[in-house]
Symmetry: C2
Subunit: 290 residues, 2 copies
DNA sequence: TTTTGTAAATCGGTTTTATCGATTGATGCT
DNA sequence: AGCATCAATCGATAAAACCGATTTACAAAA
């Protein structure tokens, strides 16, 4: 039994005339007769009565037609669903983001939703390590984070933009008017830094080590909004990429002197996994906003 | 899109391994790969991610699998239904009967239902004319009646048995002990006869005409049980085939003298229409009871 | 790192099957 | 009776499914 035969059968049932049905199906009457016969042979029961040159449905044909219709309908619905998926009328995107890139994602989200309101989202904030773990388990379609030291070659990497590392400080601080600051100076300040898992922290520690400097880390914390609150108090300083604190008030950021004191925002996805069209469109919007 | 491809896809989805799926389907791995690819081409979207030598379902594959399953399931259910039909686990029989043959039908019905309780029935009592009309409109599968004068050659006729025409009278009647009676004698009696449409009435009138006799018809009535009530009163006589009054009390029947004073019970169906298995079995039981 | 084994894709050839056009036979209509 | 029509059938052809062998890409083991 094949869908083709069911389609032929249903058209023949509709018109109760093999010749017209065959024309309507763009096949020859000969073919239709044969395919109906073949179906009847497989079902071991006639679907049509052949009364002279007239045909009518048998009881079996009547009963079977209900299922034939449902079978073909479900196949068509499946096809339609995939078309919808392609037209972004359905589907879900799962995106992982490091907190530093929050702003760019929310902007994109708003713009995307205006155009394609039916697409659902799952946004996961977390450390690079956590996000990459989830990406590897296919729980995320794509992640936005900063460049990693170690790259895996089943990942696909796309750079978005670079952003300077900056010392973040309260507007009340003495340093607020400085245009730049050295690592050495920073090493004398009392710092509140993001927790270990954050790639920024890793990056900062590497930078201090290379210069044989030891930062005074007073606080480690795994929540960036809280971290910024602490900085606004004026008691501590922190180090973040500039983009992280876009749109934040009561704080200023001072670029750090030295080579490679920038970070590159990246998109990471799994190479071989089929990229959803919705994801592609989302990324196009995101890139246009950068 | 064909059911074959959907079946292949579902098995591949189940095992997430083309080689094993192909073995399970008794086709080569090569064929499975090709058919899946062909399906993906038609749907214009990949159903599987090929990650190295591993495969996983894409979003599209996940969504589509629901419909693929429903489509194949419905086709299978249709097949199962026809099997049930063949095993007499479902189906409906429509039978037309002239009242005279009521007894044989009810007996068959009881016996048939013991063996095949799931088959539904529609029993239609009526005149031969009415029944043949319905048969021609495919509203009945078969009719039980007496032989017709005019036969149509798209009908199939089967004889069941013959039954003598009898004068029916109350047990109080003077005639109750008679072994036979002539038409001439009957023509002197006050008769209550079935209405015009009944073949018996037609038959009786023909018989009287041939002998140049004129019956005294006091009452014409289109309900046989009422007719019999009238006869039981002793005021009127009627003429019926013997089988009609099987199991009736308070009345006796006296065979009518003369050649051709018998009627033949028949099964009539449409030649070219597929005979339901349930009907065949029903008739086998009926014939065994004759 | 190299080797080995495994799984899917691909290629070329074969078999199967769907399809067609022409014809036949049966039937309904004029 | 003759004509037109419709489904079935036949023989031939084109299309498609299928297979085995090979290739490619990977993963696991040495």
């Amino acid at each position: 039994m094949e869908l083709r035969q069911l389609r032929y059968f249903l058209k023949a049932k509709e018109l109760l005339n093999f010749t017209e049905a065959a024309n309507s199906l763009n096949i020859s009457q000969s073919t239709l007769s044969q395919q109906i016969k073949q179906l009847e042979d497989e079902l071991q029961i006639p679907l049509f009565n052949r009364i002279g040159k007239r045909i009518t449905l048998t009881e079996a044909g009547e009963l079977f037609s209900v299922y034939a219709l449902q079978s073909t309908s479900k196949a068509n619905e499946g096809l339609q669903l995939l078309k919808d998926l392609n037209n972004l009328n359905t589907g879900k995107i799962a995106i992982g983001v490091t907190y530093a890139l929050r702003d760019i994602v929310t902007q994109t989200l708003v713009k995307f939703n205006d155009q394609y309101p039916k697409i659902e989202f799952e946004i996961v904030f977390g450390t690079s390590k956590e996000l990459i773990e989830k990406l590897n388990h296919f729980e995320l379609d794509i992640i936005l984070t900063f460049e990693e030291i170690l790259t895996e070659n089943h990942f696909k990497y796309q750079t978005l933009f670079t952003s300077p590392m900056t010392l973040v400080t309260s507007t009340n601080s003495d340093l607020k008017s400085r245009k730049s600051i050295s690592l050495k100076e920073i090493s004398k300040l009392s710092l509140a830094l993001p927790a270990k898992g954050y790639s920024t922290t890793q990056f900062i520690n590497d930078a201090f080590n290379k210069n044989n400097l030891h930062p005074k880390v007073a606080i480690e914390i795994n929540d960036i909004p809280t971290l910024l609150e602490l900085v606004k108090s004026g008691k501590w300083y922190t180090i973040l990429t500039q983009t992280t604190i876009k749109n934040e008030k009561e704080i200023v950021c001072i670029p750090i002197e030295g080579k490679n004191m920038t970070r590159t925002a990246m998109l990471i996805s799994i190479k071989e996994v089929y990229e959803k069209k919705a994801v592609k469109v989302f990324l196009d919007i995101l890139k246009s906003l950068v």
